[in-house]
Structure formats: structure tokens, C-alpha cells
Symmetry: C2
Subunit: 127 residues, 2 copies
DNA sequence: ACATGTAATGTTATATTGTTACATCATTAA
DNA sequence: TTAATGATGTAACAATATAACATTACATGT
């Protein structure tokens, strides 16, 4: 999987150009002039981009952001600071937190697959 | 706010009796025989219960669980292990993780309000 | 060139999740 | 009594996400 399809590329570019998470139907609206016509197409593109680690879903907002890293191995060890006020979002990586969560899983005999870590508050500009 | 209203009580009891997260419309179906009739009523009850710390929303599943603690101060320092297979869910508290996230926020000049931490994987029974 | 398999696409319809708006009722505090 | 508050009921609706199925594009082997 080296090349993105047209729809995937279109959705990805839009997300990269945005400084905040976009909702699926906003993506649809914005890309309609470019040829994307239905929610299905948007969701399919998003699914693929997420699978490739190029996009993350912000579960607490039902919205999507482009990965800010060169090549996100996966969603592992990634987490987000989300500003309630301006919607700015910072993507961070912290292996220590992931390790700690992993350890907790082990204690419970659980197998860790992936996680959602989303911190909401207000960012430096809004404080 | 000492007493729960009938709707709140009804929703809360249902969630407490469940060993896995329930979706809003499942709650609605289950409580229709008890007198709850519309989504609004369910969501209103859920909102109040969440505000009181008696219920948590599982963002990655759009579902709701009763708080497993006596009296959850708030959603702070709480996180969840969620089994992909059997949907079993374990609610945990870990001040260290919260502290670490708080520290990270400080480094970025952000103010921490609350968080969503959801770990998916398979539980001990399903491994 | 042609058949075949696979992934991506287009399109329509539908399912699921969540909210708005507004009228009513009960409680209580001035 | 009146005003304020909060909970309720009801209907309509908006937003988010998926299902189903026919079609197209393209790589691969023959």
C-alpha cells in the first residue's frame, strides 16, 4: 500500500490542512466540490487512513485529525491534548504512560491492543 | 441533589445490573416497559448521572456504564480496560497516570480538566 | 489478448446516536 | 400568591455511521 487512492488523498490533504479535528460530514461538505459524494466514501477513506496510521479518530468528539508525525507506527503510545475553547489539538507520544497501562493490563491478565487517551482542558493560548 | 428522579433511578439500576456498557437506545428499549418513552429522557437521565459521577460514558463505544466505585468523586483518574471479545469492562483508578498526564499538560501550558482513557484488548477470560 | 481475483468505487437507502423545541407539572422560596 | 426552578412528556429533527449491492480499475497469470 504505497499510494493513496483519490478519495483517500483528498480526505488526507483536507485533514492535514486543518489545525483542528474535522467531523466526517464537514469533510464530506468540503470535498464535495472535489468529487466526493457520499458519507460512505468519506468513512471508507478515513478507515483506510486510520489503518495506515495517517489519521486518528478523536473519540470524544467524533472527529478526525491527520497524524502530526512523519509516520505513525500505529496509534500506540499516542495521546491528545484537546482545547475545549479553541479546539486546538496537540498530539503527543509518551512511552512511559503506555508502559504503565500495559503493566496494568498484565496485572489483570488482559492483553493490550490499543488505547484512546484524550485530555481535555484549555491550551496555553486560551489560558 | 440527594435523590434521583424516577427516570434517573431507572436508568441507573439498569446500568448497575449490567456487566457491560449499554448503549442509549438499548437502555431505552429496556426501560420502555418501565415507563421511559423517548431518547431525550434517557439522555437527560444519563447526563445527570454522569454529572453526579454515577455513570461514565465509554467514548470509543458510545455506551454507558455504572461507576463501579462507591462514590466516584468525578471522572478524574479513572480509566477502563475493555474486552473486544466479551465486552467486559474493568474500571480502574491510577493516580500516577493522572499525575503524569497533568505534568504533561503543564509542560504545554495547558489546563487539565478531565480525560478519557480507554484501553481495548482481550480480558483474562478471553485470552 | 483474455480470464480471474481483489480492492476500490459509486449510489441509494437505512440504521444508530444524539439534540431541539416547547408545553406541562411539581416543588419551593419570596 | 407569584415567581423561579427543575423535572417531565412528546414530537420532530439533526448528526453520525453502516449496509447492501452493482460497478469499475487494475494487477497477475495463462
Amino acid at each position: 500500500m504505497l499510494e493513496l487512492s483519490f478519495n483517500q488523498e483528498t480526505v488526507h490533504k483536507l485533514l492535514q490542512a486543518s489545525d483542528k479535528p474535522l467531523k466526517a460530514y464537514n469533510i464530506l461538505f468540503e470535498t464535495q466540490k472535489l468529487g466526493i459524494k457520499s458519507p460512505t466514501q468519506v468513512y471508507r477513506a478515513l478507515d483506510k487512513l486510520i489503518e495506515l496510521g495517517k489519521v486518528h479518530k478523536i473519540e470524544s468528539k467524533n472527529a478526525f485529525v491527520a497524524c502530526s508525525k512523519i509516520n505513525c507506527s500505529n496509534q500506540n503510545s499516542t495521546f491528545f491534548l484537546i482545547c475545549d475553547n479553541c479546539e486546538n489539538i496537540i498530539e503527543l507520544e509518551d512511552q512511559e504512560i503506555t508502559d504503565q497501562l500495559n503493566k496494568t493490563c498484565e496485572r489483570f491478565g488482559s492483553t493490550y491492543k490499543n488505547h484512546t487517551i484524550e485530555i481535555s482542558g484549555t491550551c496555553s493560548s486560551c489560558n
